[in-house]
C-alpha cells in the first residue's frame, strides 16, 4: 500500500505554458478541488514573467532557477546530449522532493499528453493513487543489464541489473517513491535518465507498480484521430503536440 493518504498534486511540465494548457489546468484544478488534488504548472523558461500569465487562483505557477537545480543535483533527467541539462522535469522533481514535500502522491505530465476530459484524470487518480507507488504507461524489462541497445549505455554504473524502462510522459509517484528517487539522486550527484530511473527504482525496492490500460496510449510516436479518442475517452494520449487540436477535441466531448 502507499505510505499514507492525503493531498495529491498534479504538475504540468512545460517550457512556457500555452493558453490551451492553462485553460485545461484551470478546468482540472476546479474539478480537483472535490478530491484534494492541487494543480501546478512548472515553467522551465525563467525569462517568462509570471505576472503576465492569466492563471486562476487554483493553479500554482512554478519557476526554479537552474542554479538551484545544479546545487541540489537535479539535472540530466531527460538529457541525452545537448546543452539543456536542466529542464522542467528536473525542476518538478526538485520541487516535490525538497521544497514542497507535503504530498502523498504526485502526478507529472508533459504538456503534449492529451487528457480527453477532467474525468479521464479523475477516474485514473481515484482508482490507483491510494494503492500504488508508481503509475506508468508500461514496463519493459532488461533483466540481465544488456547495455548494447536503446539508451541502456546510460544506465551502466548507475544501477545494478535488473533494469526496466518505459515511456514516462505521464506518471504518478507516491511519497516514498519520490524519497527513493531523491536518495538515488543525492548518491549519484545527478538524475539518471527518466525513462529508466523510476522503473528501476520501483522494481528494485519492490514497490507497487501499475501500468493501467488507460495509459497504453502513451507511446513514443503515434497519430491519433478523434475517433480513437471517442472509442477510449478515459485513456490519456501521447504524443499530441498540437494544443489547438487538444482543445478542440476536449470541447467535442459530451459525457
Amino acid at each position: 500500500m502507499n505510505v499514507q493518504a492525503g493531498n495529491s498534486a498534479f504538475c504540468f511540465l512545460t517550457c512556457t505554458p500555452k493558453p490551451e494548457t492553462l485553460e485545461f489546468a484551470r478546468e482540472l484544478a476546479q474539478d480537483a478541488l472535490q478530491y484534494n488534488v492541487d494543480v501546478f504548472i512548472m515553467i522551465d523558461f525563467n525569462n517568462v514573467n509570471l505576472s503576465d500569465i492569466n492563471a486562476s487562483p487554483n493553479i500554482q505557477l512554478l519557476q526554479i532557477p537552474n542554479e538551484q537545480c545544479f546545487k541540489h543535483n537535479y539535472r540530466n533527467t531527460i538529457w541525452l546530449g545537448g546543452s539543456r541539462v536542466v529542464t522542467a522535469w528536473d525542476k518538478a522533481l526538485l520541487y516535490f522532493n525538497l521544497i514542497n514535500k507535503n504530498y502523498s502522491f504526485v502526478w507529472l505530465s508533459e504538456d503534449d499528453v492529451f487528457f480527453p476530459s477532467v474525468q479521464s484524470f479523475r477516474s485514473l487518480h481515484e482508482l490507483y493513487s491510494n494503492t500504488s507507488d508508481f503509475i506508468v504507461p508500461s514496463i519493459e524489462l532488461n533483466l540481465l543489464g544488456d547495455a548494447s541497445y536503446w539508451h541502456w549505455g546510460w544506465a551502466n554504473g548507475n544501477f545494478f541489473p535488473p533494469w526496466a524502462h518505459a515511456m514516462v510522459n505521464v506518471i504518478g509517484l507516491s511519497q516514498r517513491m519520490l524519497i527513493a528517487v531523491d536518495n538515488h539522486v543525492q548518491w549519484l550527484g545527478r538524475v539518471p535518465f527518466h525513462e529508466f530511473l523510476f522503473n528501476i527504482i520501483a522494481m528494485h525496492l519492490n514497490y507497487t507498480i501499475v501500468a493501467p490500460p488507460e495509459l497504453t496510449t502513451d507511446v513514443w510516436l503515434a497519430s491519433y484521430s478523434f475517433e480513437d479518442i471517442r472509442r477510449r475517452p478515459h485513456n490519456l494520449y501521447h504524443p499530441l503536440k498540437n494544443l489547438t487540436i487538444q482543445k478542440l477535441w476536449r470541447q467535442r466531448f459530451v459525457f
Partner: protein, 101 residues
Amino acid sequence: MIIFIFRLANESLINNNTIEWNHFEILCRDNQTLDSIRQNLTNFYNEFEKNKGKFSANNRRLLRQRIVQLAEQCQKQNISKDVISFAMELANHAYKLPERT
C-alpha cells in the same frame, strides 16, 4: 457468463445512478452465431471503455474481482478460451492489478 456480466454492469450503473445500458440485453439472446456473439462482445467492450469512468473506484475493483471469479468458473466448464480471454481483458480494464516484475 455474458448474462452475468450484463447484469453486473447494469447493477453497478444503476447503483451509481449514472446511465442505462439497455442494449446489453442483446448479449443474452439465444440462437446467435459465433460471429454475432463476437460482435456483441466487441460492442460490449467498447461501451465499457466509454463509460467506465462513471463507475466508482470501489465498483471497478469489485467488477474485476467478480469477472475474474466468473472467468475461473468458465475455465472449469471448458467454455471457449476466447470468452475467458475477453473476460480477463475486461477485468484488467476495470481495474489493473500491479505488475509482477
